[in-house]
Amino acid sequence: MVKSLNQIRNDFPILDQKVNDEDLVYLDNAATTQKPRAVVEALAHYYYTDNANVHRGVHTLAERATADFEAAREKVRAFINARSTTEVLFTRGTTTSLNWIAASYGEKVIGAGDEIVISYMEHHSNLVPWQQLALRKKATLKYIKMTADGHLDMTDAAEQITDKTKIVAIAQVSNVLGVVNPIKALAKLAHEHGAIMVADGAQSLPNMPVDVQELDCDFLAFSGHKMLGPTGIGVLYGKEAILNEMPPIEFGGEMIDFVDLFQSSWKELPWKFEAGTPDISGAIGLGAAIDYLSAIGMANVQAHEQELVNYVLPKLLAIDDLTVYGPHDPAQHTGVIAFNLNGLHPHDLATGLDMEGVAVRAGHHCAQPLMKYLKVPATARASFYLYNTKADADRLVDAIVATKEFFKHGTV
């Protein structure tokens, strides 16, 4: 990396604290990442020098705020290599982005008997909007199966996607299994059948280079807070031709061209979709996060995480009574690792790890259909990010072993 790992850690003040008398090891990055000083300072700088409403004012602050806000949009555009900023809509997060596709594009295009194809590993945010759309429209929701080690079954994908399919919606990276799904191949398949491809990028954007033109997906949704940015801001990328045909989802200030008493017309892209005062500071914070990630380089971020997985996955697999979900080959596994200690509920395991200062998640990870598919009620999940170290990985392994011992003997 350009910066040393130590330098990077120093950029994240939150990491330098004790939790339950132990040094914090934060391994809940798939839920949300921590923020570097640069991002928090971008917020403070905005509020202390430039804050004003955007696209409305003639005065100097308004012009500065508008320029800052639109500069953030351009940063997002460059980060995902979209053709134009008209294709970059700011939303509240992945969930809102996906709901917008379903509520606007889906509402318009889906009819009775049409098919929407997703997978068993989808996050509820890329599942329930399609499920409810299908219920509203009497359309068919279809699930692509997985292979034994947790990859998307592309043979099944080729069968599920048919000429009746209108929408294929798949996570680029699973938030549980740590697998990467072949969006480009899925997009090709979808397009061959006249369907559009929706990529849920919540877990991919933070961790790997993503190029929408290369993937040829029609939509891409992601969240700022999972990639060093603030909460409350997310992105919906959509191909311009498709966005142009879509009706807006919310109505109000900023998105109108002309309002008459009984009818109105809309602005051009991207503003057509951005009703009301946008999350200006959120967009600026996301821009600062993108600057931070770009300075390190997404390929380097990915390589660092891969190194950690190479290091920790074999150690986890070596723990007796520990089940690891998803592929066991580190080369096939991203920095998200779900596991269970046999005989112990993951909540108890997570509480044990928390007592050791190690923050992991336990639960269904907003993926209840996947839990059912895996036949487990819940799992624990550790997820690594650019500021995590091998020492963090060791702490995780040690804490799992100690917790296991505690519950075996009923005491430490």
Partner: protein, 159 residues
């Protein structure tokens, strides 16, 4: 090591109840029943109650959950069996107060074994695990749809 504080939560009696839960399974005759979930963690409890002559004659639970939720359910069944629904309601109230730790001098004798779950107050993320069975009991006894009074018995966020 900080793991030692786990002892405050996972007392031996809790581990025992969880490993060998009492009144686990199903009843032949059921007057009140309910299924409840903790939406975030996926824990689920099915509770069956047989109330005859204003007395909880029998009770049984099944479902999935962590050590705390299983132990709590087991202890709850022990505590309420043989009592009137009104007495059981009273226990639910006491238990709810106990686990949020607001009242240090609370008399928790009526809760029997379940009183050792007071340690959960120090583990806010686990309060909902301990509460689930009691909340289910409350709902099973007081409302038809299993939803009506759910908010009343615990003061924290249900998720």
């Amino acid at each position: 090591m900080a793991l030692s504080s786990l002892d405050n939560l996972y007392r031996q009696v809790i581990l025992d109840h969880s490993a060998h839960p009492h009144h686990h399974g199903h009843l032949q005759q059921v007057t009140n029943e309910i299924e409840m979930r903790n939406p975030t963690c996926g824990d689920v409890i099915q509770l069956e109650v047989a109330v005859f002559n204003d007395k909880i004659n029998d009770i049984a639970f099944s479902g999935d959950g962590c050590t705390i939720s299983q132990a709590s359910a087991s202890m709850m069944t022990d505590a309420v069996i043989g009592n009137t629904p009104a007495q059981a309601e009273e226990m639910v109230q006491v238990f709810s107060k106990m686990i949020i730790g607001d009242q240090p001098n609370l008399d928790t004798k009526i809760l029997e074994d379940a009183s050792v779950l007071n340690g959960v107050a120090k583990f806010p993320a686990r309060i909902k695990c301990a509460a689930l069975a009691w909340k289910a009991l409350n709902n099973a006894l007081t409302s038809n749809d299993g939803k009506g009074k759910a908010g009343q018995i615990v003061e924290h966020h249900d998720n």
